[in-house]
Symmetry: C2
């Protein structure tokens, strides 16, 4: 009977048991599940603490994402926040709400995705909470630690270079392919890679740590899109910026698209989870050397300073109005 | 225009600004909002870490709870988990999803309730995340610290006394009054107190710390109801129990009810957020003395041990089937 495999036919106790079976155990001396809270030794002199929530229909769509994808992404988005402070990831707790008709296969998938990402970035899944709801909602709260001073958004200085890791626009292109099978000019192999980039984003955790050691002055992850995230960095640093659109490391799979289309994907698409940072120009080569073991490239895309904030021939605020904002009516 | 006061008319940036204005600032040297993650010094050698999610329509109903109530309760439920380990509360992050039509008055209320509870229990509201959704959903993840070894659910030993702080049944009675104006035999002053108990639960944080120092061996908070939470404690300790129903500290406002009705409210009602613990009988007086400054009473309700788990003339499992479980179909 298909009814036997939904969460409402099993009830909270059985669903929790099934989830617990999929979760790795804690190291000796720590408590992760099965008590009121987790217990573990404090991982460092300074802690990082962040939370991120994914809501079905808004942040993901189960029509083209699997449970594994959603679990992975919820963890990756949090790890990316830790990365952008130059930190290391430590322990997570998760809260999950499930509609009554949710099939247990989806629950297993969510768990597997969380575990896979936790394993990838060495996060201990130390506890959680389960509830009902009309939509699948997954919150991950993540604790990180700092091996040195953290990298804030506010540290950029006049004249410094603005740089970004990896490439931009790939995740947004992947979303378009998943949603309506668009971007027909992109070849099959690249389409697969773009879709993976959307479904299974990579947090630049080792890169963030290396960039902190390289002396970057401000850093943020590109989750809401380059225009919005660069604005956040400039707001916090109270400075202007000038970005040369021609230098943007747009994903090469988008080369065949109209230039305006590929630029929009790269600037307002978001979800690339690359690191955007500022650094003194003469330290960029140091940063490249420290990043070499990760294989991740760095591109200089502009300069901090000046009265305005521009990206190509547009103001950053103009780009922002094209971007996506939670809650806002269309 | 009423449309101006909803979250969708304002958009994420403005809603976040309104929320930030209501949040207390961090102490010097800490980062709470406005960056990718919070940063603060590690508060202790050992950390406690927990998360709890409240979903509209399931965990609360805005027909008879205000935003302040929901914000308060989300924090109190987490603090109660820290209390039941014998810990102290430290820093929280919250994730909030809001339907498009949510009025800003509700958002302000949620913030005010979170801030009031955070102030009450000395929690730093260090960060958060905002999303959309069909329901109001509020997750709070809370970090605590331990001044000594924590109190697990698993530490109970044969022959020890089972005790509970305060009184039972009041929160469930308050819920009935709010839902359908029932319990007509309860007088007006008591009705008001019961309703407050449901809307604004008190976490027994100082009590948990005192009980840890008094040498309690196992502890859990009564959130799902005495029957379920005592079962969790017995499961973790792999022992039976015998509870004398006549000794239960049922809220005196329920004295005029049918005995079966008041007993059900106390045993399966839940949400009292009292502490249920086990202790050697000859240490109970020590515990009372340490708890005296809080004004909270302790009642001995039974004994750990034996093959069975009974509460009055029923098995604990039989009580449990009467209780409420997330996800389960009615």
């Amino acid at each position: 009977m298909s009814g036997e495999s939904t969460v409402s036919s099993l009830g909270e106790v059985e669903v929790l048991r099934a989830i617990a079976e999929r979760m790795p155990p804690p190291p000796p001396g720590e408590t992760w599940g099965g008590d009121d809270t987790a217990i573990f030794p404090c991982p460092g002199p300074h802690l990082l603490f962040t939370i991120d929530m994914l809501v079905e229909g808004l942040d993901f769509d189960l029509a083209y994402c699997s449970g594994e994808d959603v679990g992975w992404k919820a963890m990756a988005a949090n790890v990316s926040d830790i990365a952008s402070m130059g930190g290391r990831a430590s322990r997570a707790v998760t809260s999950l709400s499930l509609p009554p008709g949710t099939e247990m296969g989806l629950v297993s998938g969510l768990c597997d995705g969380l575990v896979a990402a936790a394993t990838e970035w060495e996060v201990g899944l130390s506890g959680g909470d389960l509830s009902g709801g009309d939509q699948v909602t997954l919150s991950v709260a993540l604790l990180g630690l700092l091996d040195g001073p953290g990298v804030h958004r506010s540290g950029a200085r006049e004249g410094e270079a603005i740089c970004v890791t990896g490439s931009l626009g790939g995740a947004a292109a992947g979303l378009r392919i998943l949603r309506d099978d668009s971007l027909a000019t992109v070849n099959a192999a690249d389409r697969g890679r773009l879709v993976t980039r959307q479904r299974r984003p990579r947090a630049r955790l080792k890169e963030g740590d290396a960039l902190r050691r390289a002396g970057v002055t401000a850093m943020i992850d590109v989750s809401d899109g380059l225009a919005i995230d660069l604005s956040h960095l400039c707001d916090a640093s109270r400075l202007g910026c000038s970005v040369d659109a021609a230098t943007l490391p747009i994903d090469p799979a988008l080369d065949g698209l109209d230039r305006n289309e590929s630029l929009e994907l790269a600037v307002i698409g978001g979800e690339d989870y690359e690191l955007l940072f500022t650094i003194e120009s003469d330290r960029i080569e140091d940063a490249r050397r420290l990043l070499a073991p990760t294989g991740t490239p760095i591109t200089t895309i502009g300069t901090i300073g000046g009265a305005d904030r521009t990206l190509g021939d547009r103001a950053l605020d103009e780009w922002r109005t094209l971007g996506w904002e939670h809650l806002r009516e269309p």
